[in-house]
């Protein structure tokens, strides 16, 4: 069977599975819809959190980014996993004990202020929306390559599927669907990696394989893979793979912003409201990281293998370039999508990849994972499996984000702020309406992507780091912190971070160089400074305006130990 038929079958089968799960686990109450009635087993919840967390960007782009950035790519690996340590140790257990549905719920109640709640709602919607537009695009890209349909058609198909199980199932449906999606995406990520690792180094485990020596019969045999990569990089005028170009302070700041941002992302935090007990919230964070690590520990090995494979294929064993006419099919397949380009600058009919003026290839980093099985000549079913994995990653994250948006509107905005008298049933209806509207909007953004989709990811993490994280940490660990301090801190953090990113990304992109950056920190890492500002401003303003009232301090006291936690509730 050809790749396309197999892709139809495998992707179709996974879709059928997701929809079946959604129908089987339909939500009946707001508690089902928002937090799956707090009845999800921690291992299951960990798996769902992992699927929720790993987006199309993690699945499709991360290994490619690392392949081209080498050591510098470590910021994503450490940043997107280290945040779970903060979550497990400093946030999840206390927020679970607090026992409400959403992050704005916590901010609003802890800081006894509608203003704080409203700021939190706006931040939650902004962060989630920024994120989701890119996800729908990811679905479109995967479909357009493998089903050979227009990107727009791919986006529509994805939107219909997400609509079904978010709107019907709510958190309950999403959680169980995400468990299935995690299995699909992890399997799809590991299978090609194991194949390739075995081909290239004789190691079954890609994690040890990419540190090992290259197997006999592969060009560069007997050399350490990473040493060969460093050698090739030098020869071809690229930065050494194991060292990188970014300054230390920038690597530090980006890692920190991603870690703290991860711990402050509303769609991640909300997962810890869905488990029965405080103890489960802690375990759940641990399991989530275990499942995430399965993919994240594999990504750098895929990156290393893919880079060596790419150079070998394009430049040939003698590093003189390969005749274009003799290029393998995948080069030509991906050329059609415009993601690989060859320009024969010296008119010798040969392709050549390098970091300097000899370079004739433009290779989009997003194709490294998707093209990897083809590059390594793996069977067609593996290629189809990777397509299903990419779709699973994009769908699971979109669903989680949509839930945050719909909850923010129906629960935080309507129930808790504008129309407190609506019934449980009306609230559930509004949640579904909000989800539908959000899907429609994000579909539109998926089809007509604003040019800045890729760049706005920095927003989501920077915003989460500069707004929620300090407010929640202070809310738990500093019981005298008052509402004025927290609000001032959030505003300063968010405005500073937004202004910095907007200036360098949109207003004056030409100035976006290390010389002009504050302390040499790029817009990707500026959330770290925003977070520090937030902490400082909160503390100073609190000192000037007095302690939080006694009943708030008692509330904080009560979330610090697990005894007496009940299921999450709305009031």
């Amino acid at each position: 069977m050809d790749i396309q038929t197999l892709t139809f079958i495998i992707v179709g089968a996974t879709f059928a599975l997701y929809i079946a799960i959604a129908i089987w686990s339909r939500a009946g109450s707001t508690s089902d819809f928002y937090v799956a009635s707090g009845g999800v087993h921690p291992v299951m919840n960990g798996m769902a959190t992992a699927a929720d967390w790993m987006s199309a960007a993690s699945f499709i782009s991360m290994a490619g980014i690392i392949a081209f950035a080498g050591y510098d790519g470590s910021v994503y690996l450490m940043g997107w996993t280290g945040g779970y340590v903060l979550l497990a140790l400093c946030l999840a257990p206390y927020l679970r004990k607090f026992g409400k549905f959403t992050v704005p719920d916590f901010i609003g109640d802890r800081y006894y202020s509608q203003t704080a709640r409203t700021i939190a709602v706006i931040c939650a919607i902004l962060i989630s929306f920024t994120y989701i537009a890119g996800q729908m695009r990811g679905v479109g890209v995967v479909f357009s390559r493998f089903l050979e349909v227009e990107i727009a058609t791919g986006v529509y198909i994805g939107a219909v599927i997400v609509f079904f199980y978010t709107v019907l199932g709510g958190m309950k449906g999403i959680t169980y669907t995400q468990v299935a999606q995690y299995c699909v995406l992890a399997f799809a990520y590991l299978v090609p990696a194991i194949f390739i690792s075995f081909q290239m180094t004789g190691h079954i485990l890609p994690q040890t394989g990419f540190g090992a020596t290259i197997a006999d019969g592969v060009s560069g045999e007997g050399q350490y893979l990473l040493a060969r990569l460093d050698g090739l990089s030098e020869e071809l005028g690229l930065a050494a793979y194991t060292s990188g170009l970014k300054s230390k302070i920038d690597v530090f700041a980006i890692t920190c912003a991603l870690m703290v941002g991860t711990a402050g992302l509303p769609h991640v935090i909300v997962r810890f409201f869905t488990v029965p007990k405080v103890r489960d919230a802690r375990r759940s964070a641990g399991w989530a990281l275990v499942f995430i690590s399965v993919v994240y520990l594999t990504a750098p090995s895929i990156a290393g293998f893919a880079k060596v494979n790419l150079i070998n294929t394009v430049n040939g064993p003698d590093m003189a370039g390969v005749e274009y006419d003799a290029a393998p099919d995948w080069v030509k397949n991906w050329e059609q999508t415009g993601l690989i380009k060859w320009e024969d600058k010296n008119n010798d009919g040969k392709m050549f990849y390098a970091g300097d003026e000899r370079n004739e290839m433009t290779v989009d980093r997003d194709i490294m994972v998707l093209a990897n099985p083809e590059i390594a000549n793996l069977p067609a079913w593996v290629v189809a499996l990777v397509a299903a994995g990419g779709v699973a990653a994009a769908l699971s994250t979109s669903a989680g984000l949509l839930l945050v948006i719909s909850t923010s509107v129906s629960h935080d905005l309507l129930k808790r702020t504008l129309t407190p008298n609506i019934t449980d049933k009306q609230e559930l209806l509004w949640a579904r309406v909000a989800a539908a509207v959000a899907i429609a909007l994000s579909t539109w953004f998926g089809i007509n992507p604003p040019g800045f989709v890729a760049q706005v990811v920095a927003f989501a993490f920077g915003l989460a780091a500069a707004s929620f994280f300090p407010a929640i940490i202070l809310g738990i660990f500093y019981k005298r912190m008052n509402s004025t301090g927290a609000i001032a801190g959030m505003l300063v953090g968010v405005v500073f971070t937004l202004a910095y990113i907007i200036y360098f990304k949109f207003v004056n992109p030409a100035a976006n160089t290390a010389d002009n950056w504050l302390f040499g920190i790029s817009p990707e890492g500026i959330g770290t400074i925003g977070m520090i500002l937030n902490f400082i401003v909160s503390y100073v303003v609190h000192k000037l305006t007095g302690d939080a009232p006694q009943d708030t301090q008692d509330l904080v006291e009560s979330i610090r130990y697990p005894k007496g936690s009940g299921a999450a509730s709305s009031h």
Binding site: L77, L89, R279
Partner: protein
């Protein structure tokens, strides 16, 4: 009040904070320390074919994170039992 006395409540929270700080110190050292600040120095050592600093940045830190969380889960459960503030 879930605690028998004010002192016990304070002691529980103190133990909790000290555990969290210790684990966060390790968290900082394996990622920011070994993976970023000391990476060049560590790269002179080889570990299963990897330069050690590079290995910490792309593998070792993540493995350590997982272990840290499970140590925390275990130690907190013991702490909750000791002060009798565990859930039923």
């Amino acid at each position: 009040m879930a605690f028998k006395s004010e002192e016990l409540a304070k002691a529980y929270w103190r133990d909790n904070i000290s555990l969290v700080l210790k684990l966060l110190a390790v968290w900082f050292i394996v990622s920011y320390g070994f993976g970023i600040i000391l990476v060049d120095w560590l790269n002179q050592f080889t570990f299963f074919g990897f330069k050690l600093g590079f290995w910490f940045a792309q593998q070792g830190s993540i493995i350590s994170f997982v272990i840290l969380i499970f140590i925390y889960v275990k130690r907190m459960a013991a702490l909750d039992n000791k002060y009798e503030v565990h859930e039923d």
